[in-house]
Amino acid sequence: MKDRIFRVNMTNLFTSIEEVPAAWAALGGRGLTSEIVAAEVDPSCHPLGASNKLVFAPGLLSGTVAANSGRLSCGAKSPLTGTIKESNAGGTAAQMLARLGCKALVIEGKPQEDKWYSLHVTPQGVTISEETELVGKGNFQVVDTVHSRLGQQHGVITIGPAGEMLLLAANISVKDPDGKLRSHGRGGLGAVMGSKRIKFIAIDPADSTIPLADPETFKKASRTFAKALLEHPVSQTLGEYGTDILINVVNEAGALPTRNFTKGQFEGHDAISGETMHELIKKRGGKVKHFCHKGCVIQCSQVYNDKNGKYLTSGFEYESIWAMGADCCVDDLDIIAEADHLMDDIGIDTIETSVAMGVAMEAGILDFGNGKEALRILREEVAKGTPLGRIIGCGAGTVGKTFGVTRVPVVKNQAIPAYDPRAVKGIGITYATSTMGADHTAGYTIATNLLNSGGHVDPLSKQGQVELSRNLQIATAAVDSTGMCIFTAFAILDDERCLPALVDMINARFGTSLTADDVTALGKRILKTERQFNMQAGFTSAHDRLPEFFSLEAVSPHNATWDFSGREIDEFWDF
């Protein structure tokens, strides 16, 4: 099916289908969402007002048989950071939208009436319906209800109560192949969807296939790519232990932020590690391997059951486990799993909310390690929108300001994730300079600083970190445009067959003749477009900084501080 732009205007409730402008033809995923937001959204607008736009775009290779290509990008101006935002997620929606010929779904305006709506994406376009039954309901009920109304094969993109309440940490969830959820987690995009009064988007299960300019070359390249992914040892460990395998690695390296970023190692690390999770899953009858979309050959996800063998959560990730675990000093994987499931249902970012909980612990709202109270706060305060719940649901920065905490781990108001920048300095450069606020995925220097992928750069030295972060941020912006999962990057960094195969697939899909240099140029262009938007929104290099406490307080066990000058950080943008 031919690619087109699907547009929805929530002010007048009109929808349309447009030809793809030539300038957007070679873009997908993050490249396309950022291009559209930069072209059509006033950088000075209120993120929750009618002028902001919410854009979904499958990657360039989504919907094809290319392994691990099912990521969906979602972009807007972020209400959490005030910057441009792209957050990508797995699930089934990217492949389904791509097969419907939906290159991008652009949602603009804001309804004038106090009503809620749903969208239904079909091959003919988008229809808008008023929604009453599911207002106030959790994400899992939304998925179940869409299944019973339209059939199990439909895709679902949904917000929970957090998005409806416009909480700044609200996420957007995407149905996975089992009817569970993956999330566009970061930056409060759920609040943008809530501001447009859209409770959910259902996607028709079209059975059309993606047209390929050169099917033979595509087949050959996709086989090479899948083989390289499968053979990479990291892919194999990820399948067995999930991303949570990182807990013990990062802890051993002294970079696991603990007790609201006051220590670099957590005594309870082994209890929440990937190794322990692996044993518990096997003992309790869950699934060690699980994929978030068809065609994933890594399968880092899992199904985690409680001690009675009943489903507790799935897609149980390192970042979520670290945040509610080490950062809040909760050493009970079952409590963390329950929190993960609750946050999925409420529709709120596990990283932002759990880091906010850690700041609340520092403020004395609850004690460090009190996981049961954290669960109560999620269930009875955040989900119900009490004043405390809204404060925590608006993220770590809001909690810090409200309660006068000075140790608040945020950059551009977005919570710093699971690697202490004092002990892994490359990731500190990424947190500081990312166009998205503190975001580890934007330029995952952990690969090279800690995991020996793409070489090794000493995590505690300043040497080479700016260049490392720059190269990875450029490469990541391009990979985020292809629909490829970020975990393909380990093979791309280490296996020389991988990048050429990826470029060959893009060329064979679109009939282009791109080279690896064009991929780098694309990454640079995306970063510069995003940076330009942020500057027009009022951001300067003064915002590309880590919070002061990282420079003032040394973190154990390496006694490391953040010691980059502003000028050194700013060299990041010299390209």
């Binding site: 990291v234 460990t237 990820l238 232990y241 690695v249 990937g274 690969a447 020996n452 970020i486």
Partner: protein
Amino acid sequence: MKVRVRLFGAFRQGRFRDKILDLEAGITPSGVMESLGIDAGKAGIIMVNSRHASLDRALSEGDILAVFPAVGGG
């Protein structure tokens, strides 16, 4: 000499998590792995006292050696 050895991921299977071993002076991480029946070529990350180290670095009394398979995520 006494060295504390920590194993991770699949290296733990049939072995141990964390143990103090009595080893010959100057043994390397590679030698420790060999003594435990682990193929040194499968090591993804070696840390000694929470710093990255090579397979042929000589260990000293009281060191903490951590041996990981190739891991990723994030």
